[in-house]
Symmetry: C2
Subunit: 135 residues, 2 copies
DNA sequence: CTGTATCCTACAAGATACTG
DNA sequence: CAGTATCTTGTAGGATACAG
């Protein structure tokens, strides 16, 4: 009798739907970036001013990743000065409902804050140095 | 004439709706945790087996944070052995549409993978050592 | 069962400077 | 304008052990 051996190959990467989608939206600024692009295509420098606190490095990194994941396209416009336009793909547009759901909740949270502030002026918690998500 | 001085207090924390909501869902396993709780309350150990790869430390940390943020409640049941039940608050339930939107997209992504695999068996990308989001 | 307490490391993101 | 190249740092999360 041959015993059944353990399968060494990793057990079919979970492919949890939540994971799969979060892989696209994870990382600082990513969700916001998709949000900024949800209206119309934008150029690199436009995105930089849409999101003033993002660094060129991170913006570039996110755009590359999102392009690789099929969320957006990068289109070089041969003008002078040259510019590059980023636009959501069809797949990227599927993320819009997600962003909108998030924004919906976010707005309710803001409303709550307005009517019942949780924190007192003097005791502002120190801003978290490096959040995983930025917007 | 007195000149208007700059206001030193930080400029009204952005309160971007996206940020506000992501503060709740950011961090590894968080979204999945909310998902697991969206049906009915669950105990610590149940959550541990719902999400086998989460460590006690992180699970505990997430639950604390979510409780502090008003997303869930912690209820100690004086039984023997004692147990603790976690349940979404009303505010936590508002996050369910977000999770569902994410899952929707995630499922579409999976479908894509099934019908048009992007990666060949031999070249599995090395698993990212420490993802910011886990499920 | 339900957690804390430590220790450790990879990595993400910031700053800054530079290039085509 | 649209990015790279380096360097540095904080910190999130994993492992493990222990406690009420």
């Amino acid at each position: 009798m041959l015993r059944r051996r353990k399968n060494k190959t990793p057990p079919l990467p979970p492919l949890c739907p939540l994971t799969e989608c979060m892989k696209l939206l994870g990382g600082a600024w990513t969700a916001n970036l998709v949000w900024r692009l949800s209206g119309e295509p934008r150029r690199f420098s436009e995105l930089r001013s849409d999101i003033p606190r993002i660094s060129a490095k991170v913006l570039s990194a996110r755009l590359c990743a999102l392009e690789k994941n099929g969320v957006l396209t990068r289109h070089v416009v041969a003008s002078s000065p040259p510019s590059v336009e980023y636009a959501l793909t069809e797949m990227g547009r599927e993320l819009i409902p997600v962003i909108e759901a998030i924004v919906q909740v976010g707005m309710k949270l803001q409303h709550r804050v307005e009517v019942r502030p949780r924190s007192v002026p003097g005791s502002a918690p120190r801003p978290r140095a490096r959040a995983t998500h930025r917007t």
